[in-house]
């Protein structure tokens, strides 16, 4: 089932009702069109705002001397990913995949249908209006609204990477990686499922992207972290030296923003709002999404209290996100309780994998690998537990295929960058902080300027 046909199904059911029962209460096609478009726009702006969430979360987690650099990376990657997705990514993902392995290499455009409709309205030709509207109401939404919604997803994928490789990666090489990720890697694997490619035909199930978005970002982050190496001083004499967050309220704010954005992420992935069924489905998705995050929070609170004798807040915040990632593959089928449990298991994975990665000397500044990759795999595997339409085998095939593809591609890009322009700042730059070395910001502004204040 592709992301696009999902919608068609939704819209169709409405149309069917409308056609079959003219006297019925069904939503008329133009209203449906407006509803669907509105859904993409509203849920889309929530997902767009997740870019700010990632920026705040990451700027809170790094050391003070790297806060500006991570802010730059986040706003830049959002911008660049969007442009790359416009130029190459969207059509590579959605245009003519037909059960295959990729779409077409071409620039996105809103298509001839809407232009014809606009012309008909301009000409006030009622017949033409009806005819051309009939065409565009087959997809059932404004093309640009769909583009917008899909674009913010690719930005999310790129955001996942930036957190892991923070505090030591150079800005420009990172941006080049983002271009490849947004223009090529993400769209190709995405086409397999949401573009209606071979995975969709196989019967893989990933409602809003536990695998397609989160694990993809996670795999790219993992390869990046390995190839880049750990921050200086993170691992010393076989010990892990904790590097504390510089601003916990910012990490919390970022987490809340992401939580908010996730309603758009999962809710909007219903892809249609033009019928009572869709409205019911989206409502269910909202409560399940919320419950999974809550489950992640509560489980990590309990677990860190038991294991470490004190609650570990940054892990709790990771737990909320891991809960959200876990439910993303199938937020429409479980009950609230099941969702909380699925999210709770995501929380457990955070508590297990954050220290585990450290033991493997894989230095993940914000815990993105545990949150997005590991919980993403779990979430994808958990779908068959509550959704009889999914199977473990197919889920595993999808996870492995996408994982393999992303790891190979990411590795090639990271290594190519490493052995050409280099991806890591110098030791002195790392010591001084990327704010100074990459952005020229005095980490130490004149004392008269900042000596005092209430902030």
């Amino acid at each position: 089932m592709t992301r696009k046909t999902l919608l068609t199904t939704g819209a169709l059911s409405t149309l069917l009702v409308a056609v079959a029962a003219p006297a019925s209460a069904a939503v008329d096609p133009e209203t449906t069109f407006v509803f669907n478009t509105l859904l993409f726009l509203v849920m889309g702006f929530l997902v767009m705002f997740m870019a700010a969430g990632f920026a705040m979360l990451e700027s809170g987690m790094v050391r003070r001397k790297n806060t500006a650099a991570i802010c730059l990376k986040n706003i830049a990657l959002y911008s660049i990913a969007g442009l790359a997705f416009y130029l190459v990514g969207y059509n590579l993902m959605y245009d003519g995949v037909n059960g295959g392995f990729l779409g077409s290499f071409s620039m996105w455009n809103p298509g001839a249908g809407e232009a014809a409709y606009a012309a008909a309205i301009e000409a006030k030709d009622q017949a033409k209006i009806a005819e051309t509207f009939g065409k565009i109401s087959e997809t059932g939404y404004a093309a640009a609204s769909d583009w917008f919604f899909q674009m913010v997803f690719v930005a999310t994928t790129a955001s996942i990477v930036s957190g892991t490789v923070a505090e030591r990666i150079k800005v420009w090489p990172f941006m080049i990686f983002v271009v490849f990720l947004a223009a090529i890697i993400y769209p190709i694997q995405g086409s397999w499922q949401w573009g209606g490619g071979w995975l969709a035909e196989l019967g893989f199930s990933d409602f809003a992207g536990s695998t397609l978005v989160h694990s993809t970002g996670g795999w790219a982050a993992l390869t990046g972290a390995i190839i880049l190496g750990a921050r200086r001083g993170k691992y010393k004499d076989g010990r892990v030296i904790p590097i504390q967050a510089n601003n916990i309220p910012m990490v919390t704010l970022g987490t809340f923003i992401l939580w908010l954005g996730w309603f758009g992420f999962n809710g909007g992935s219903q892809l249609a709002l033009g019928s009572a069924s869709d409205a019911i489905a989206i409502s269910t998705i909202f409560v399940n999404t919320n419950a999974a995050a809550a489950g992640g929070v509560v489980v990590v609170m309990a677990l860190t209290q038991l294991l470490f004798k004190k609650i570990d807040l940054t892990m709790v915040l990771n737990g909320a996100l891991a809960g959200l990632v876990s439910i993303t593959a199938g937020p429409d089928s479980p009950t609230i309780w099941q969702s909380a449990l699925i999210g709770g298991v995501g929380g457990v994975l955070v508590v297990v994998f954050v220290p585990l990665l450290d033991r493997l000397k894989i230095d993940d500044v914000v815990g993105a690998i545990s949150v997005h990759l590991v919980a993403g795999i779990w979430g994808t595997l958990a779908v068959p537990l509550t959704n009889s339409g999914a199977s473990f085998v197919n889920q595993a095939i999808g996870i492995v295929a996408i994982g393999g593809f992303v790891v190979v591609c990411s590795t090639i890009v990271w290594l190519a960058l490493k052995y050409t322009i280099g991806i890591r700042v110098s030791e002195e730059a790392e010591e001084a902080g990327l704010d100074q070395s990459e952005l020229g910001l005095d980490p130490n502004p004149p004392m008269g300027q900042v000596a005092s204040g209430t902030a």
């Binding site: 010990r239 892990v240 030296i241 904790p242 504390q244 470490f308 004798k309 004190k310 570990d312 940054t314 892990m315 508590v351 954050v354 220290p355 450290d358 815990g367």
Partner: protein, 112 residues
């Protein structure tokens, strides 16, 4: 003249300052420092990795005083900063040859 440096627990600052004022001290300078000593920080866990809190927050007070006042000041600080529990801090007395008030150019004890 002497420069008296006292390292104390942060929450004692107000009390010490008030005691010194009562004892006739008209000026002092304070800074935030971190102390390492017999008082050990706890072992904590951050994201699953243990670490030792090694430097504890302290406040350092610097008071320049005439020789005549040294004893009084030491005593005053010792009393007002005292809690009896480990980590109360230290008082150090350094030799000071000269002192100048920038505003007036006064020197020596006049400048304190």
């Amino acid at each position: 003249m002497k420069m008296i440096k006292a390292i104390i627990k942060p929450f004692k600052l107000d009390e010490v300052r008030e005691a010194l004022t009562s004892a006739g001290i008209e000026g002092l300078t304070v800074s935030e420092v971190r102390g390492f000593g017999r008082q050990k920080g706890q072992t904590e866990i951050y994201r699953g990795a243990e670490y030792q809190v090694s430097l504890l927050p302290k406040v350092e007070i610097e008071v320049a005083v005439s020789d005549a006042m040294v004893e009084t000041v030491i005593e005053t600080i010792q009393k007002s900063a005292h809690t009896g529990s480990i980590g109360d801090g230290k008082i150090f007395v350094l030799d000071m040859g000269q002192s100048v008030r920038i505003r007036t150019g006064e020197t020596g004890e006049m400048a304190l």
